[in-house]
């Protein structure tokens, strides 16, 4: 008998809990509907004529823009430095190498094709070929 009563109490308790949850949900739904109705009717509680303050996004945009500008400036500077370095290093190709290549038909040292260079260096020892190629690579003529 006592066990039966306990079960009934438990069931009633569970039902009460479910009912309370349903009531809370209904309250929420009503509030949402009221809000929605007000919104559809065109009523706005408050408008402040300042630029949207949740402008975290625009603030972020501004920050990113600044970073981008700085990065672009840095890239431009590095490019300029690289170009200068390239010009400087090209000047460091030893005169003997330039002369040697010139004799073998390579006058233009700005951009040398690997195949053309191999053909021009034919007849030289392996060590010499490596040395010439290393010098050209350092100067940036040979990629």
């Amino acid at each position: 008998m006592e066990v039966g009563n306990q079960e009934a109490l438990d069931t009633a308790g569970e039902s009460m809990g479910r009912l309370a949850a349903a009531a809370a949900l209904l309250e929420k739904t009503v509030a949402w509907l009221e809000e929605r109705q007000a919104a559809l009717a065109g009523d706005v509680q408050k408008i402040v004529a300042t630029v949207e303050q949740n402008n975290d996004s625009s603030h972020r945009e501004h920050e990113l823009e600044q970073k981008l500008t700085a990065a672009e400036a840095q890239i431009a500077e590095l490019k300029a430095q690289f170009a200068q370095a390239e010009t400087r290093t090209r000047k460091t190709v030893p005169a003997a190498t330039v002369q040697l290549l010139s004799k073998r038909g390579l006058e233009e040292l700005d951009h040398i094709d690997a195949g053309t260079l191999d053909a021009a260096l034919e007849g030289l020892s392996l060590e010499q070929r490596i040395a010439v190629k290393a010098q050209l690579m350092r100067s940036g003529s040979l990629a």
Binding site: G42, D43, V44, Q45, K46, V48, A49, T50, V51, E52
Partner: protein, 209 residues
């Protein structure tokens, strides 16, 4: 040009140390804002002339406030009072007093900043939008609850302005205690409008408490 004005008459007091007169353009009427104001869910807004005229009385006696960064409103930093409002063409102009002694930083900012950098922003309550789905929200009804002094670039309307003016006291004799305070609301275009005087009188009396 059509001019419609409304004012709360504050008795003049020559050399008042805490009153600095100001004037400004609070907003534009029948013109869409340049940016979406706060609370408009990303929509630009347009305050109709009719709504502005109907709301003009609600503006009188409202405070002007500021935020230290000059970038918005702070309703708890009320540094002045609006006593007059006019609609002149498309501009809703206001004037009033700043509490200069209580808020010296406001005057300093005005002196320090370049001319034309400061603007104004309104605060509206109970606004009615004709069509919530429209790109530009047309406000057909609203109540002014305050205004702010801020950097013009931070205002949703970029053509607002704010500046301190010379003392405009019309009478040199100070107001005597017990002397009745004249409170008038008038419409230049629409004739005398003395209604709501009691309310305005009460509001004004409270100001000096």
């Amino acid at each position: 040009m059509r001019l419609e004005a409304m004012a709360v008459k504050i008795p003049a007091y020559a050399g008042h140390p805490n009153r600095i007169p100001f004037e400004g353009v609070l907003t534009l009427v029948d013109v869409a804002s340049d940016k979406a104001p706060s609370g408009a869910r990303g929509h630009r807004v347009l305050l109709t002339h009719e709504a502005a005229m109907a709301a003009l009385p609600s503006l009188l006696g409202m405070a002007v406030d500021y935020r230290p960064g000059w970038d918005g409103h702070d309703a708890r930093r009320k540094c002045g009072l609006i006593t007059e409002a006019d609609v002149e063409g498309s501009e809703l102009r206001v004037s009033g007093y700043l509490y200069g002694r209580d808020f010296p930083e406001v005057e300093e900012q005005m002196k320090r900043g370049e001319e034309g950098t400061m603007g104004m922003s309104y605060e509206l309550a109970d606004a009615h939008v004709e069509d919530m789905r429209a790109e530009v929200w047309r406000l057909s009804r609203a109540t002014f609850t305050g205004a702010a002094i801020l950097l013009r670039e931070k205002a949703a309307y970029r053509r607002t302005s704010f500046r301190l003016t010379q003392c405009r006291s019309s009478a040199r004799r100070p107001h005597r205690p017990g002397e009745p305070v004249r409170v008038a609301a008038k419409s230049v275009a629409g004739g005398s409008m003395m209604q709501s005087i009691d309310t305005l009188r009460e509001r004004e009396a409270n100001l000096w408490k």
